[in-house]
Symmetry: C2
Subunit: 211 residues, 2 copies
């Protein structure tokens, strides 16, 4: 849809976008019309130059010296970048408490995630999560039929690769992997690993050094 008319945005910058968006929304609510990079940097405890670069990478116009950036326009450009305006439909496999947490997470809904179905090996046993739960063998069919492009995996580690293969067979393009397994996928597919244990390792090691 949009060509390479914008500069490339780094993964790190992309991850800062939700923070900017959240902050800009607050400013907008408070009727603030323009904001400078140093001000945002101060509010979010980031480096001023970094904020300016991030804004420059996203904002279609140019900031005004002494004034800064128009809040609403900047916000729109950011939401555009993340596909906020065209909602991202996804399926989730697994229906434990983690799945429930993801399905009900408000901030994800704000960023355009819409979970259209959940799958479980035993749909009858599964907790209700506010989304209908289907048998896992229907994954590929449903994804293909509904043209879903995002698959979220929250099953036990042993089933992760099987589920992933089914999602790939269903035409998924991006996988959000909450299992500790390193998945094998064709290279055109993006896998984003979310590993709580990996994060916890950082905390744990810090304490060990400190105490």
């Amino acid at each position: 849809m949009n060509e390479c008319n914008q500069q490339v945005i780094t993964i790190q910058a992309l991850q800062r976008m939700p923070y900017y968006i959240q902050q800009l929304k607050i400013l907008k609510e408070n009727k603030v019309e323009t904001v400078s990079a140093p001000r945002i940097a101060e509010l979010l405890k980031l480096n001023e130059v970094q904020v300016r670069k991030d804004f420059a990478a996203v904002y279609t116009a140019k900031g005004k010296p002494k004034t800064g950036f128009p809040v609403t326009e900047l916000l729109n450009n950011m939401e555009e970048l993340l596909g906020y305006h065209n909602i991202n439909e996804a399926v989730i496999v697994g229906s434990g408490s983690l799945a429930r947490a993801i399905i009900t997470d408000e901030s994800l809904q704000n960023f355009g995630l819409e979970i259209v179905a959940a799958f479980d090996l035993n749909p009858a046993d599964a907790e209700s999560c506010g989304v209908k739960i289907l048998a896992s063998d229907k994954i590929s069919n449903l994804c293909r039929r509904m043209k879903i492009h995002i698959g979220i995996i929250t099953v036990p580690a042993a089933q992760a690769q099987v589920v992933c293969d089914q999602l790939v067979a269903g035409g998924i393009l991006a996988v959000w992997n909450f299992t500790p397994v390193r998945l094998s996928v064709p290279e055109y597919i993006l896998v984003r690993n979310e590993n709580l244990a990996a994060s916890f390792a950082i905390l744990s090691n810090h304490l060990k050094k400190t105490l």
Copy 2:
């Protein structure tokens, strides 16, 4: 406790440890006694040199050319590094489905996380999570009394900073922040931000570029 007798381990390397540990455990179960860096790299889809460097940073002895590393010893060194052997006690604030997911996550338990209490503004309303739920005003007291050093925050954004201040007052040293708020803390405290929206931004942007 342990001085700077080991080389410094990067955050990135630290985050790979849980993957190594998981893989080494599998090898150990299969009675494999030694393993080489290239083999682990292959299994986990990592760069061979990176694995070797990570091992060198953790392993107290030296690997043997042509043979590799002894599985059990290497595993022990890694678990030692993460404080696996001395369990990490923590409290969690908030008692929604995310809290429940964290409390019941098996891989976190395997890595030594032990959640000793959960807090909620209205303990009566809160779902049972297998841990007793206390009123939020008891946070500081309990942390101090039980010498807890890790605080996990899963409350709504609006309460995040207040809760964080209470944890800090209770003597916490590391905060695991699941809210989208950038917390203000004294500089001796480590804050690890877990932001689902930030991760989702990466997936969303990838799809936007691809489709």
